[in-house]
Symmetry: none
């Protein structure tokens, strides 16, 4: 019951905690924060309702933890990809976008939670998350700035292009179906090119 094909949180040490977090992501992503009940989460995690509160003090804190995990994983993937790419802006942007799209495809529900339910966090948790989120955005912004400086990207709107790219990529979560016509790889490829074109960078022929 717990073996959802691609759980976001790995079960290391604290069995239940991971199970609860994954169930929460699933429930919130599917039915939205307010539409999913703690009972739903408990059922999904295979534990009792009250036991949830031994791990997370409130529904909102559970959401915060779930979103933190999702964001960490996204950042980890993007950073790794950028680090392993070449030094030039085009290949770095390309790999960053591919990694980002890969995450969105692998964890569509987590992505939905991330974009829809931030508003239900405590002010404190929300602020912390926004900081993290901005860090991811900043990674893209830096690459684009680098490309502009280097002369490989010619967009006059370098400052705002990152948001457009991340917006397009994030929206994938809303419509992608793994059994649809596009494979994960094709999609990543497409969006990498869209991104390069958008910043008016060099395109493979």
């Amino acid at each position: 019951m717990n073996t959802r094909s691609s759980a976001l949180v790995a079960e290391t040490g604290r069995r239940n905690e991971a199970a609860i977090l994954n169930a929460a992501i699933h429930a919130f992503g599917t039915k939205s924060f307010n539409g999913a009940s703690m009972r739903d989460v408990a059922k999904g995690a295979g534990t009792s309702l009250s036991n949830l509160y031994n791990y997370f003090p409130s529904k909102s804190k559970l959401l915060a933890a779930a979103m933190r995990h999702a964001n960490d994983e996204l950042q980890r993937r993007v950073r790794t990809a950028v680090d392993q790419a070449g030094d030039d802006a085009p290949s770095r942007l390309r790999e960053a976008v591919r990694a980002h799209v890969g995450f969105v495809v692998d964890h569509r529900v987590a992505m939905v939670v991330s974009t829809n339910d931030v508003r239900f966090l405590d002010a404190e948790d929300r602020d912390a998350l926004v900081v993290d989120r901005d860090a991811t955005e900043a990674t893209f912004e830096r690459i684009i700035a680098q490309g502009t400086t280097e002369g490989s990207f010619h967009t006059p709107y370098a400052d705002d292009a990152a948001r457009a790219i991340l917006g397009a990529a994030g929206a994938i979560a809303g419509w992608y179906r793994p059994d649809g016509p596009l494979s994960r790889g094709q999609l990543a490829e497409q969006y990498a090119r869209f991104a390069l074109a958008l910043v008016e960078g060099p395109l493979p022929r």
Copy 2:
């Protein structure tokens, strides 16, 4: 109390109906469908809770009506813009994007409802909405196909570019602030160029 600067639904004939719809869009957009109560809507519309049911038979049908209105307005704007543009794909795409972005900026909350809450509609209403939505998407797809055929757009992914453009534009609702550094006009201008670049079309210098 009802005079929200830019109400989506105009008050023609049925006073209350428009007030209720606008209040619903505001409430659902702000607190999400499940987070907003019918009491919230009633309060926002300046009428009594029970009176809501004289206009809409259920919360879900109210949501459906609200989304229908939002979608109609979006489609109207985009179509008008396209009709008034030149005959060539680049200017048509440019105007379509400008119109779309304009709508998103003017009705951010409605946009949020539209993208987040479709899942709470009855199957029937959801299907109807998806059809309408696809129509808007198809408008963009047709323009891109035209441009590709004409030879002005060179993207190899003509079939999927519309979704990327609409995704980027829709995401604006999540972060745009009217008192921020970007004016409505500048934003429309930016995204029009992003779109043209993305489809690898001709860019003004």
Copy 3:
């Protein structure tokens, strides 16, 4: 089910409100504020749980309203008694004590609520109640001061005698049983004498 022998709140106009208040006094007095559930109150009032909230916004506000009613009735009785007594301090004290004891006997549960559950009110409601309560206490203090000035009471502790008298009278609620050896009238008589003796005033032979 509602016809408790001596309801504190009379049913005038708003049927349900009186029924709820009386049920609340009964439930809180019997099982204490935290031990009584809103369901208990609803059952006692013959209405549904959720309907309670159409009359009182929270359990704590319901308690506040109940205590307000109890205090009003107590004050009313004491004032009437004092007004109808002679002008001399001894007969005024006598009548005040008799009225107070009468109230305690008639509404023992209300008295229990009043003395035990003040701490569960909102700060605001608690303050308001304390003011009212002090007013009752002040009535006794004034009489004692008058008696001291007139020379009929000789206690050296005139300032604190009221609290002792009210304490003794309030405690009656904890042990009095209507079917016990003491009648309501005898009890009132006893405590009136106790009070006069305590302030070292003139005693009937």
Copy 4:
């Protein structure tokens, strides 16, 4: 954290037991039996929730033990005081009242628990406590009877005067503040005189 200025139960041998009992008295006295949770008690005692059950089999039994301790201490103080007083009823009553008031002042919360929460004991425990309580009351009754027989007290209501005196003294717990205008000693003095006056006994000039 456990060192409350005047703990009722001394730490002899079983550290934890005393800590738990004192924490229970504090919690129940502050928030009432139903308002205080076993978690509150555990926190106050500096131990774990589950460990409480190694000392007391249930919340209600814990309450019983706490009340037993409070009552024992009260009785001990009153008896000692009476034993050390002279043989005449007036000085015995005087010392008994002083001791009783002293206890109430020193252990206000314990007194609150004692008077408010008896009803939450098991029938068995409640009966046992009532017996103990009656013993304390009987001490006062005996002194008053003695005084009446000796001819030093003239109240016609000798049988019921004890309850009035104890009621007045017990109520002190509800309003006394150590930082208020009355010292512990003054208060004891006042109530001793109130008691003597109430039974119509001889008063110091």
